[in-house]
Symmetry: C2
Subunit: 85 residues, 2 copies
């Protein structure tokens, strides 16, 4: 495997995995006051577009990483809409 | 321009722009209690790796979008470290 492929995979792993501690923190604290609703609305829209892009160009890594990111980001968006301050 | 290129550009635009409302909200509220430190540490690491990946494969869109995302995500990380609860 080429070095740039390893760097790209590590990059995708980090930017996907990053949303897990936020999802866990928001779920356990039941507080989402400081979370921006606008951020997660725009971000989830973007990740859906990345998924569509991955399907259009038939790129499995783009499809898989964005499917996981979407589940995590949607859960944070749901918590934001659910937990009252 | 092909349709998939438009979808990809729109996707990158959204997932980059999304961090702006969070940065503005955190800056104006001076509160980052509900923001996950782990998320922004892992996320910034991932975006740096995306930047290195973009430079390695000489892909200008990857370099530019991740440069903007890094500035926004780093500012949120800085606010998280600066603003006491």
């Amino acid at each position: 495997m080429e070095l740039f492929t390893v760097v790209g995979l590590a990059a995708g792993f980090c930017t996907t995995l990053a949303f897990l501690p936020q999802a866990i923190k928001t779920w356990t604290s039941k507080s989402a006051k400081d979370i921006s609703l606008g951020m997660y609305m725009i971000f989830c829209t973007g990740v859906v577009l990345w998924l569509i892009y991955g399907i259009m160009i038939e790129d499995l890594p783009i499809i898989l990483t964005n499917a996981v990111t979407l589940m995590l980001a949607l859960s944070i968006l749901y918590f934001k809409l659910t937990f009252k301050e």
